[in-house]
Subunit: 472 residues, 2 copies
């Protein structure tokens, strides 16, 4: 079963650290439903902690229904269905749904937990035109495999656009194209190895932790403040690799200021086997202030792997992500992982490459940004004008496709989410994104992902939400 | 470094088992170029074998250039470029190559080591027609994400075609679509776990071993005879999962007869944690005899994961593979890995789905099969009529896109390959596909992958090959 150690460095009590460790293991299936847990005595011996600490953690898990106790037989993981990750989940297509039809937020008046942009925003007419032309002009070459790292023309287009939009200078050879960021993280684990600990942001994006763990990597969760991952926390961890999103942390919403970026890089440079994975997933959506340079662009020693995707900026069904590898890792990648075929169909690669090269990608991003700013402004205004206006606070709204809404209320996070749900509003709370014993100071705060909502529903939805929370 | 144990169960001497273990570790990068190896004494102590055995293995590796010795300092892994996997490698697109143009077999008169079918065989006109119609009829729904296991209409089409073509009865829900078989193997490792040993065929497909190892799995290599993986060998291993290709073993070419299939299944059923991965990669290309039922179709207890791909049957750039999961694993898959987004773009999924449902996929496969049989017959006839006809033998030509050519010669495998290369013919030898100390009885045998060759070159190529081997 689990071989973790407790660090004893979380801010909360030790039993809560154990609580989170066990809960995470159940949520990601490392402890299976119905599995018997070690006895309190056994676990206390194994982890070198007191029986009282184990008792407190088991008690909390029992109270919350994660465990069941059978008298004389011990504790068992509950046979529960863990809720699907709410944060930015792909909408599901059910068997009964007509082909190709998805129903994001089905049955919700407003789904503020899904970050998928509205279908109306997809640049379908342009992409369709490019595709038709390609079918005539390129013919069966569209069915020939590309280079294992992606078609060179797409990698050139990406490298060029990275320089223009993010100040990142890389050769097209350093770009590796793959079927989405999720796939690329798995590839990065194969490249950097499973024999080291990876630091993840806490609170952080639900899927990131699952992906690393399912790829066999031990993770430590490092506290995030309004400036992003705490470098002090990182230094206290045993991590050799840190996964960070400096442009726009999810869900905290912070943008990492320059001094902390250099601190992070300094951490990486202290040992030859330290690396940073820069998750730049929605850097394109910055609404005001100076664009912040990518970590990769100030990395002089080749310690940053930059990862981004077109799922947000173009369409979720276009499964194309890419990473920019530092020169030194590129050689290792070619030698050890160069045997993999590219996971993206050639047609999609050429289509995207023309979309970028023609300047239409940039124009599309600008259009979506303007649209999203409009939706955000409307939503913010509606909240401020509503009944709940005086008793809530809007945070971190200058970047990315979500902002934070903090409620000044006596309701718990659980109650807020449940009451909102009853009113037809799907909310994700920052506390839902907690992974470790950290994450204090984020209570009663909702992650408002607005890219997919219907602006016509805003006033009704906000009114209903305000009413549902009124007497809290 | 490495933590393998020698099994001492290979057919050859123990030092050759050590030789292969070290060579594999170097080839897949577990031992890095320039890395210092343990001293003979140290390694002998660590593995519990005699210093003489280590000496003999180091000696062989030194002689072949895998190691270099520095007097007084020890042995180092050579800084060599390991040849790219020749077997069925995707053709590379070089930076200098015009966009979209690949050059399979560039500079070779004939490339018999690459299994990629000729571009002329791709069903481009049909696919292009389907795609154009979809762009008009489906519009922006093409840019919406599908279910995480793939679009239901594609999974229905695959399930239906599996029943018709392979006698496999599964619900569409059991089908998981992903960006190629390579990606799916990684997903299977995440599903079945890294804490068990996987048995691989020896000799076997180069990439399969690399994929499992890079996914952090310990592998044992089990001997293959003309009937496929030896169940006796499998029983002597510590494996819990076996990856087999019963329809058509690569490179051995054998089709596993029914009795051995049931033996394999019996092995799997003896323990609840044993599974078989059925790699059915080119089952569509059987030229004569009764079609052999898939392992999956005779599996009553849900121990077989069936994997296939459309890279061979449609086109290599269409990165679509799929697996059929047994019911019990399906639940685990949904619970533990259901958070992953599908890696195949929606457009490709719908296109392929229409291609299958309209019956055009089946017609296309029939056409390619007829074409390939014609090429095979021509190549076989040319070989038999040539100067080398009397001194060689053709084996395993009734299934799949390669056959074996055994030379009765005094030349070594190395010499055969080098002489052929000088004559402009790229050959892959069965011995190139060996992974462990097994694989005896496969000497002087070339793997003739003919799907990608130009029939117009056959007579010249065979003549040159025969001449180059003449005085051997």
């Amino acid at each position: 079963m689990w071989m973790h150690e407790l660090t004893g460095r979380g801010k909360g009590p030790l039993y809560m650290e154990l609580y989170w460790m066990l809960r995470r293991d159940m949520e990601c299936g490392d402890i299976r439903p119905g599995e018997r847990l070690p006895s309190k005595r056994e676990l206390s011996a194994r982890l070198g902690i007191s029986v009282t600490t184990v008792e407190a953690a088991y008690g909390q898990l029992l109270a919350e229904g994660y465990l069941t106790a059978r008298p004389g037989s011990g504790h068992y993981a509950a046979k529960v269905e863990y809720p699907a990750p709410a944060a930015q989940a792909e909408p599901e297509l059910h068997e009964r749904t007509p082909a190709g039809e998805q129903r994001p937020g089905e049955s919700w008046l407003m789904d503020l937990a899904s970050g998928t942009p509205r279908a109306e925003l997809f640049p379908f007419p342009v992409l369709s035109r490019i595709l038709r032309r390609m079918l005539s002009e390129r013919g069966e070459r569209l069915l020939q495999a590309t280079d294992h790292s992606g078609a060179m023309e797409l990698r050139q287009a990406i490298a060029h656009s990275l320089e223009e939009m993010r100040g990142i200078k890389v050769s097209p050879r350093q770009i590796v194209v793959g079927a989405g960021a999720e796939y690329l993280y798995g590839l990065i684990v194969q490249l950097l190895g499973r024999d080291k600990i990876y630091a993840l942001e806490d609170p952080g994006y639900y899927k990131t932790a699952l992906i690393y763990r399912k790829n066999g990597v031990a993770c430590e969760y490092v506290e995030v403040d309004e400036k992003g991952m705490s470098v002090t926390g990182l230094r206290q961890s045993r991590a050799r690799v840190a996964h960070v999103s400096p442009s726009h942390q999810f869900p905290g919403g912070g943008t990492m200021p320059f001094p902390r970026r250099t601190e992070l890089l300094a951490w990486a440079m202290e040992r030859p086997d330290r690396y940073l994975i820069e998750d730049d997933y929605d850097s394109e959506f910055r609404f005001s202030g100076r664009p912040v340079p990518a970590l990769q662009s100030i990395d002089a020693e080749g310690r940053v792997i930059y990862v981004n995707t077109f799922s947000k900026t173009v369409a979720p069904a276009l499964r194309i992500g890419y990473m920019a590898l530092p020169q030194a890792l590129l050689e290792r990648f070619e030698r050890e992982l160069g045997f993999y075929a590219c996971t993206v169909p050639a047609t999609e690669q050429y289509m995207l490459s023309e979309f970028i090269q023609s300047g239409q990608f940039q124009r599309h991003v600008n259009r979506v940004r303007t649209y999203c700013r409009g939706v955000r402004d409307e939503l913010v205004k509606a909240i401020e004008k509503s009944q709940m206006g005086p008793s809530c606070e809007i945070l971190a709204k200058e970047a990315g496709l979500h902002f934070l809404l903090r409620f000044h209320t006596n309701l718990s996070d659980y109650e807020i989410r449940e009451r909102a749900a009853e009113a037809g509003i799907r909310l994700l709370m920052v506390s839902d994104c907690r992974r470790g014993a950290n994450g204090k100071g984020w209570d009663r705060t909702a992650v408002m992902s607005y890219a997919g909502i219907d602006p016509a529903q805003i006033s009704e939805a906000v009114e209903r939400l305000a009413a549902s929370l009124h007497d809290g």
